[in-house]
Symmetry: C2
């Protein structure tokens, strides 16, 4: 099995209390694909500029991540500059330079159009809708979005929500989308908008999976040190979608382990800048931490 | 088995988006004792004023909660006035009227001095130390405190911490006490201050139990509606201490179920004002919700 991801590939400047790094590999599709790749084959649709370093392309290739859908456009690669404070909470965005991403119009290669598992990373809901007209009959589509689209393209976003199976967002996004502060109530409202499953990422407080079948509560891994939170959400989604597509899962009950695997990969991601930690991560390390996750909420 | 609690009995005025109630039963010892009473016998040491309503005393008596250590002093009962915003987060304190509580000097009745399980609710650490000179050789002492004492009586608080087995505080209190924002690191620092066990209450994000044996992560119950959060922390402590004293438990491993029972009782507490919900709560409701808690983090 495999998963198709449509999202961004970026070059980031990131500053945290642990250091400052420039022109490092970033973007939702980058993080997602390296995470998902532990469990399944990954196909990326994204855009890069002429200045995108070959070394980074080689990183994807070394993992056999499929790049046929990564278009090189004339101009510069999308860049994001951000800075995290001491609490490593939401970063301050110092600059967003869309560059070639501004005209990103995802074109799904013909032989990707029958993909069963699709992840629409956080891009303009109009582009997400456009992708959904190109894929033929996916088994399962998961969606990410952000406050910007909730506020600025609510109509288009609601249209996408009616066409996807799973929404993966963070706590504040779920509350804002539902216009409701209590997360349990917000979840019910979001599920009424279309998706059968809502996954709420809560950073150090874990993650929640909501469906008609009930609620699953996943812990987060109690790390003593977080070096750079960038990419935690995208690698959570990558671990989750990688696991469920790699195992051809379709029922909410069977997604629980996917939520744990997503949390496992995200917990490694934040241990270093960019994709450094997960790029060198070994399958055994994932298994060991998965076991530690189970132990965290085990009563006996 | 039984548990001794030293704390406050108060009359509260509480306003939440769901209503406004005046002169309702409040105070840490009130909430704690009604919660703990589901699992064990409870003995209160506290002070009330001459104006304390007989009806409220009858409520304790109807539960066979022992009141020999509740002293009636001349003057008025301790009062707290608070208001919660729409998010039902930290309340705004509109007024604190210590009244007879200002001169509270807890005197442990002679036949309470051999109690094995003792809970020191959130009062001046000097008074907590004073209590510890009166109880002879308790098996297990648990402590609550708050930011005010962390800031204003750090020396006395650290002295108490060296003499107790369990500290039960909320997230921000643990971080402030340790002067460390990452909770896992903060927990290690707090455990170095004396207690063998640290329980961190995180409201809607659940609770964490830290000890040398590891970390246990408890979910919170995903309520759709919270009416009044007052007393959630004290009834968490009551459910926890009630369960572990009622079952004569002493090892951190065996405390896990206590953390769940604490969360269960707290989840009922917030469904209504004051002790209204837990006063009429039935044992079967507790068992049912305990089962729902286990299901929340159950993978299979």
């Amino acid at each position: 099995m495999s998963v198709l991801v449509v999202g961004s590939i970026a070059l980031d400047n990131v500053e945290t209390p642990f250091g400052k790094n420039e022109e490092i590999l970033g973007g939702s599709a980058s993080y997602f694909s390296i995470a998902a790749n532990f469990f399944t084959d990954v196909k990326i649709v994204a855009v890069i500029g002429e200045d995108f370093p070959d070394d980074y392309l080689e990183m994807f290739k070394s993992k056999e991540i499929e790049l046929k859908g990564v278009k090189k456009s004339s101009g510069k690669t999308f860049r994001w500059h951000g800075k995290y404070g001491y609490d490593l909470g939401d970063p301050q965005t110092l600059g967003t330079y869309l560059n070639v991403f501004e005209k990103f119009d995802p074109e799904i290669p013909e032989d990707y159009r029958d993909e069963d598992y699709v992840f629409l990373a956080n891009i303009d809901p109009e582009l997400q809708l456009n992708v959904l007209t190109q894929v033929r009959s996916p088994t399962l589509v998961a969606l990410d979005t952000m406050n910007y689209w909730i506020e600025n393209k609510p109509k288009e976003l609601k249209e996408v929500l009616q066409k996807v199976n799973i929404l993966i967002v963070n706590d504040s996004e779920a509350r804002e989308l539902a216009k409701e502060s209590r997360i349990t109530k917000a979840a019910r409202i979001v599920l009424d908008m279309g998706p059968e499953v809502l996954i709420v990422k809560r950073g150090e407080y874990g993650a929640l999976l909501f469906s008609k079948e009930g609620i699953f509560w996943a812990p987060s891994y109690p790390l003593e040190e977080v070096v750079d939170p960038t990419g935690a959400g995208d690698t959570f989604a990558g671990g989750f979608m990688g696991y469920i597509s790699g195992n051809s899962l379709t029922s909410p009950e069977s997604f629980k382990r996917g939520v744990i695997y997503g949390s496992v990969i995200a917990s490694f991601t934040v241990e270093d800048f960019s994709v450094n930690r997960i790029f060198s991560l070994q399958k055994e390390e994932i298994d060991t931490r998965f076991g530690a996750f189970l132990k965290l909420s085990n009563l006996d």
